[in-house]
Symmetry: C2
């Protein structure tokens, strides 16, 4: 364990990397030029061997840790995991957070200006996939002079990127941490995504994706998508323990305003999200989830897909996660074992459901700490 008392990385700032050469995408088109928004914490060592890439999930971004100003109400989304003395220790590692292509937090995405038209990309923005993101992240690594990552780490959709990294660039990934993830979506996973997408696509304020030019925002659809998504992030039991059947006003109102606390909570989450997130980005992120299937180019054989990897793997699942249940993580583990790879697997007891990968559950953080201690030793060997 680290000897440092865990603390925040403090004040941080975002950086922008501009890429002028086209990026060929899986969908068949190319992005002529693009930029990636990213942040770094800690210091790259002289051997450039201590870099750690953190890949974000559906609604995440590059702002992983720290605050932009002392007035900031909230730190980055994984501040409990990343910082001096924390499992991803910024006194040991040079940590990179990056907003993915198609995002809405500074990297080129549907709300960015399309240089060809001078207007937001909107519906003209191409569909991007996990493969595309990994390729774009590799270019960013090149730009930063990082040949090999000590670790690529992600939860959920982020875990899919870590797995894809280990497959696409085996020589560039020493360790891959795949948390609360799955080797591909199930029919039920896709079904939930499709309801969320249909909510956005059928919102009259969506205007086929070109709502920017109409001064509109498809808030209703985005709000529904987030409410629905949120249900799948929490466990049934966790939701029961936190909200149960608690009534907003103590008694049944027999109407359609908020009746139960859980309704109030969900609507609040939906409202907040619909004010800050881009609807087209939401669509793209859910499609990237649907398309993810690293075994597909290998005839559906995940063992073959991971047979060329050379990373050490840590695969983590949470017992109350029903979005990507432990069984889904075990599919990854089984394939790695069958391919003769080094893999550690842990199923963590947590009431937090899928959201557990973002939470400060001690056994989970201790596990991450222990694994990354070994990574640190490896770096210094």
């Amino acid at each position: 364990m680290s000897t440092t008392t865990p603390r925040s990385v403090g004040l941080v700032r975002a950086q922008t990397a501009v890429f002028e050469s086209p990026l060929a995408l899986e969908c068949g088109t190319a992005l002529p030029a693009y930029q990636l928004q990213f942040e770094t914490y800690g210091t790259l060592n002289a051997a450039k061997s201590n870099a750690v890439l953190i890949c974000h999930a559906l609604s995440g971004h590059h702002h992983v840790a720290g605050r932009y100003s002392d007035a900031d109400k909230y730190p980055g989304w994984w501040d409990n995991m990343v910082g001096p003395g924390k499992p991803i220790d910024t006194e040991r590692f040079f940590v990179i957070g990056v907003n993915n292509l198609g995002g809405c937090h500074g990297s080129t995405g549907p709300s960015s200006i399309n240089p060809d038209t001078g207007k937001p990309w909107g519906s003209a923005f191409p569909v991007v996939t996990v493969n595309d993101w990994v390729k774009a992240q590799a270019r960013l690594a090149d730009r930063l002079g990082i040949d090999t990552f000590a670790a690529v780490i992600g939860g959920s959709l982020g875990g899919m990127q870590a797995l894809q990294w280990s497959i696409d660039y085996p020589e560039r990934v020493k360790n891959a941490l795949v948390i609360a993830s799955a080797p591909k979506l199930s029919a039920q996973n896709i079904a939930f995504n499709d309801v969320a997408r249909q909510a956005i696509l059928t919102d009259p304020d969506f205007f086929g994706g070109d709502f920017y030019e109409h001064g509109a925002i498809p808030r209703r659809g985005l709000r529904l998508a987030r409410m629905l998504g949120h249900i799948t992030y929490l466990s049934d039991d966790g939701m029961g323990a936190k909200f149960g059947r608690m009534l907003k006003s103590g008694e049944y109102q027999y109407g359609f305003d908020v009746e139960f606390e859980i309704e109030s909570y969900l609507r609040y989450q939906g409202d907040k999200f619909s004010d800050s997130f881009d609807a087209n980005t939401y669509l793209l992120m859910t499609k990237a989830l649907d398309y993810f299937d690293p075994a597909k180019p290998f005839g559906g054989d995940l063992v073959k897909a991971v047979s060329g990897t050379s990373a050490n793997f840590l695969v983590v699942s949470f017992d109350s996660d029903w979005r990507f249940s432990p069984g889904r993580s075990r599919e990854i583990v089984d394939a790695l074992v069958a391919a003769g790879k080094r893999v550690q697997y842990a199923q963590i007891a947590s009431g937090h459901g899928h959201d557990a990968f973002l939470m400060m559950d001690h056994p989970y953080h201790e596990l991450m700490h222990a694994f990354l201690n070994r990574v640190h030793e490896e770096v210094n060997r």
Copy 2:
């Protein structure tokens, strides 16, 4: 077992019972007058002791079995369960199906004309609950001269009505069959309902519930509600076995049209439903689910709630049902056992999820048949 080869009840017709005296509702208002649409199959015996009431679930109605004409494409919703030689044997029982108040299949509901205004009730239709439905069904029983039901039977929301019947009219229910149900909704159950409701309530074509006068139908909202509901009716494994990741056109299209078969199926279900169901009825049915909590008047004590019942109970759950999991049925069973009541419980192995209660799974139908054989013997004793 019955000696009759199972067959259809054949051609049936719906009947209407008009009630001119007001019905006081749980919400505090009263329906001044109302009608109930119902169907009956089989013959009421001289002792009037062989009547069976079937209570419908969220999107159900009175048309339980048979066809209205030979040209009818589909029979009633529980035709596999109700008919000569079937578990609910119409050669033995006088079977009643009734559309609940607030419905959209002939009983007074939001799309009915409000006699005070000459316009559809719309937003003025009061919120109705399981208690109200049971009271209205009891009046229908009075009208038909039925003092005591040999059995009250229902699945899901229908099972809640069967349970409420046994509590509210203990002397009128000899047997209560509570299938794939729960003693109250969980926070997660309510959350799914609320997303469905918000989809309808925020549809610009909803017009606060008075869309009828605007010549509009909130199709988008109703479609989303149904798509979401449908996911919760199927099991993850069942959906995986039926659809998996099958693609509509064999290859990734990298766009927002239908990509996976599961999307095609869900959108079709949503479209079909939004063309035929009333949005206000959908809202009311989900609220009735949310409010159902027979233990509430007993300080939350379900044992006390069922302590006055005198029915024999059959409680049935399905192992792949995650909407109302077997654990929820066991809550009912545990309370009945603790109250010293006669109860049989079965957890049926089925891949059909919550929908299993409507399906022709043999162990389930054999169980129903066996239980209802005993009810039949009881009637003839």
